[in-house]
């Protein structure tokens, strides 16, 4: 399925779960927050959540800031 991840087209070849996408991208789940189509998806819901074709996904992490 095709997703837009952090502003770029991404072809996801996994099972559409958060874990599969994060593994595909090399992101660490514990260090990651997620929005899908603008809505926050809480990590406690990640196990049951499935992406749909065309979803816009933002994957966020902490960086240095004042």
């Amino acid at each position: 399925m095709f997703l837009t991840v952090n502003g770029e087209k991404h072809e996801h070849s996994g099972d559409g779960t958060v874990a599969a996408l994060l593994t595909e991208l090399g992101a660490t789940p514990d260090h990651t927050a997620l929005t899908v189509n603008g809505e926050l998806v809480f990590s406690r819901h990640w196990k049951t959540f499935k992406f749909n074709d065309g979803d816009t996904v933002e994957i966020l992490t902490f960086v240095g800031g004042g």
Partner: protein, 260 residues
């Protein structure tokens, strides 16, 4: 002075260090960690950005997780309005598990001055949602009081523009904020020298937030220690009670009974 007198409370949480550190601009994570340790801080700010698979080293979660007794305060930098700041705060809380949030909304990249109206709207909403809200604000006593009434845990007026090293250019306004405030007042942004941190504490600030002055110093770790000493000195002086000012000279030696 014992430790109990020195500690202070922020949103129901107790801190002994009165220095809050930003984590931006450090040359590398190892230097940042050493500076945090040298500063003795117990609260550090972090920013939320898109995961970058090309730069996994930008991820601060791993290095910060190694630190003990440090609380995270995600900021809302990058938000252009209240709505974006609220969403950033929610993401920050989800990722950090921390109730602290630094609300910062500065839509103009040239001066990075906080948007008072959007900041107020976001702070009010987040405080009602259970966050411990610390808004970064212009040094405006009226706004500071309204944010206190809106449920903020502290207010963080700027000393001068973010990253400018302009020092405590707003000292007179910060004094007015402190005089009327029932919540901690924390100078955030613009400090360059530990003496300025000491001055802010002498004026009655509860704490100071420093980032660029440490991260961009010649030796960030040594400067972190210097700021810790500056904050401690200023606080101790405030507790000691500064002598009254006089426009006239006041003798220290008796003027009478001089040897003739």
């Amino acid at each position: 002075m014992n430790d109990e007198q020195k500690s202070w409370r922020l949103g129901g949480h107790e801190f002994s260090s009165r220095l809050i550190l930003g984590t931006g601009k450090f040359s590398d994570a190892a230097t940042m960690i050493k500076a945090i340790e040298a500063s003795g801080t117990e609260l550090v700010t972090v920013a939320l950005r898109r995961f970058n698979r090309e730069k996994p080293g930008d991820d601060l979660c791993a290095p910060l997780a190694k630190l003990k007794n440090i609380r995270l305060m995600p900021n809302t930098s990058g938000a252009m309005n209240a709505k974006e700041a609220v969403r950033a705060a929610q993401l920050g809380r989800e990722l950090s598990g921390s109730p602290f949030v630094k609300v910062e909304i500065h839509p103009n990249p040239h001066h990075l001055m906080p948007d008072a109206i959007e900041t107020y709207l976001a702070a009010k909403e987040l405080a009602a949602d259970g966050f411990i809200v610390l808004p970064y604000i212009p040094a405006d006593p009226v706004l500071a009081k309204k944010l206190e009434d809106a449920g903020c845990a502290a207010v963080m007026p700027l000393g001068s523009a973010i990253g400018s090293g302009g020092g405590l250019s707003t000292a007179d306004m910060i004094r007015l904020i402190i005089r009327d405030s029932n919540i901690p007042v924390i100078v955030d942004a613009g400090l360059r020298a530990p003496s300025e941190a000491a001055r802010a504490m002498e004026m009655g600030c509860a704490a100071v937030l420093v980032n660029s002055a440490i991260a961009a110093a010649g030796d960030p770790v040594a400067m972190a220690r210097a700021f810790a000493l500056g904050v401690e000195t200023g606080y101790a002086a405030r507790q000691a009670g500064l002598m009254p000012k006089s426009d006239m000279a006041v003798t220290t030696s008796p003027l009478t009974s001089f040897l003739r």
